[in-house]
């Protein structure tokens, strides 16, 4: 190789090293900024170090619905010693539900088993007509077989949402033939509610990224474990 090529190689290796570190820094700052955009933290959130939005403290909701095996599932009792992630959605949802579920499942796979074991993800259907137990089992298993699917009539589900200050689920009109596969959409709350140590409640709106879940879940689990030790 000539001197010119050596010069090119040297310049490029230096430029590449500098710029790759720039990409890495940029990715980190972007993730942080994305979180700020999607979950504007209150002073409490910032003080606690959560990426999610801290809500008014309160006890875990006390409701019972059927799981995909048809058994009664009491949310408060079943999740008592765990960090509970509660989400209201439907399996035909084209965007928010699969993005939330996929993001959480992906992060859980990365966590150590002792952390993962203390987290319970509960998905409540807002479309009981189409979300049969089989359909829910199949859909949730696509993300993580440990996810719990619950269903009940829409009135009961909306009562639970009202107690949690969430808007009710609203079934949209069936579109003309050919659009959206002939199916309807269901308007529903877009945030995942998290119930942690004591009366701690947080909300994670749509836009929460995997980097946010990876930051908060171990933190919330360690606080939960500490509260149980006390």
């Amino acid at each position: 190789m000539s001197g010119a090529v050596r010069t090119i190689a040297r310049s490029l290796s230096m430029a590449t090293a500098t710029l790759v570190s720039l990409v890495a820094c940029d990715a980190g700052s972007e993730a942080a900024r994305a979180t700020e955009d999607s979950t504007p933290p209150s002073s409490t959130d910032a003080a606690a170090g959560y990426r999610g939005v801290v809500l008014e403290p309160g006890p875990r909701p006390d409701f019972t619905l059927s799981d995909v095996d048809g058994k009664a599932f009491s949310f408060r009792e079943e999740t008592e010693s765990q960090l509970a992630l509660l989400f209201f959605g439907y399996t035909n949802c084209p965007d928010i539900c699969p993005v939330h579920m996929a993001g959480i499942a992906s992060v859980l796979r990365d966590l150590p088993w002792e952390v993962r074991d203390r987290i319970r993800v509960v998905f409540v259907s807002t479309d009981p007509e189409r979300d049969t137990p089989e359909r829910m089992r199949e859909w949730l298993s696509g993300f993580d077989p440990r996810f719990t699917g619950l269903r009940g009539d829409l009135e009961a589900v909306n009562r639970i949402q009202a107690e949690l200050s969430l808007p009710p689920a609203i079934r949209g009109a069936v579109p003309p033939d050919g659009e959206n596969g002939g199916g309807y959409e269901v308007g529903h709350a877009a945030q995942v509610l998290v119930f942690g140590a004591g009366d701690l409640r947080l909300a994670y709106p749509f836009g929460t990224r995997q980097v946010d879940w990876k930051h908060d879940l171990p933190l919330l689990v360690s606080e939960l474990q500490a509260s149980h030790r006390r």
């Binding site: 010119a4 090119i8 710029l19 990409v23 990715a27 995997q210």
Partner: protein
Amino acid sequence: MQWWCAARGSAWTWSWQAYPGVWLFVLAIGLAYWRFFGFGRRLTARHGGAHAEGTPGGRGVPPRGWPGWFLAGLLCLWLGLDWPIGALGAGYLASVHMLQFVLIALVAPPLILLGVPAGRPELRAGSRGLLRLATHPLIALVLFNLVIIFTHLPSVVDSLMASQLGSFLIDMVWLTGGVVFWWPIILDSPARPGFGNPMKIGYLILATIVNTGTFLYLTFSELPIYSTYELAPPVYGISARDDQTMAGLLMKVGTAAVLWTAIGVLFYLWYLEDSNEPSSTSHA
């Protein structure tokens, strides 16, 4: 209706969408070529002569300046910009975004430049100030790699892909960067007679190495780095991380395939030179 592909936020559907801005852009490039060089009989001319002037690959291969090269490049450009590749890449899958990059920056520019007839002095590198500077091999290589890195920064992708103008800007930067990168390889450079086939081969080999950092970062990142694709409505259940890994692999494999093909052609031309056969020494 959108005029250029950008992230929509709605679920992906295979229903065809019109992007008139893409058609106008592709048409404008085609008309510009026709205006400056024309198509005429050059398109249908036979290329059976051994080692015709400007032949990229040898016997039977059309020479440089053949409009078919240009039309093939224009087709690749159109495929990369229009529905479905343009739409999927703009707002749904990082891997398709990378396929767009390969088509727009790596495949289309050399084909378009091969379609430029030889002997057009106004297009020769070294004939004009800014062009001479930008198409100097060292500058072109650095510029192209800056384009690769900056157009793959998460903040750049996430802020620009949300708007049609931003998406258009990224596509134009890719195309311009690709043209600058391939210029010293394809077009004559009387001002740089020393930049022969061995130097061109070295230039391309370096180009295969320097995008490794971006490839490694995309492929082995623990978490999705682009919110555009992480939060996009899923397509066929492909996870954001798998999509990102595929994007990284496509960057490496796609880039390598194009560059090593060009390196192979240059080696062949170098071999022909050494065999004292009549052949062009300045065309890829």
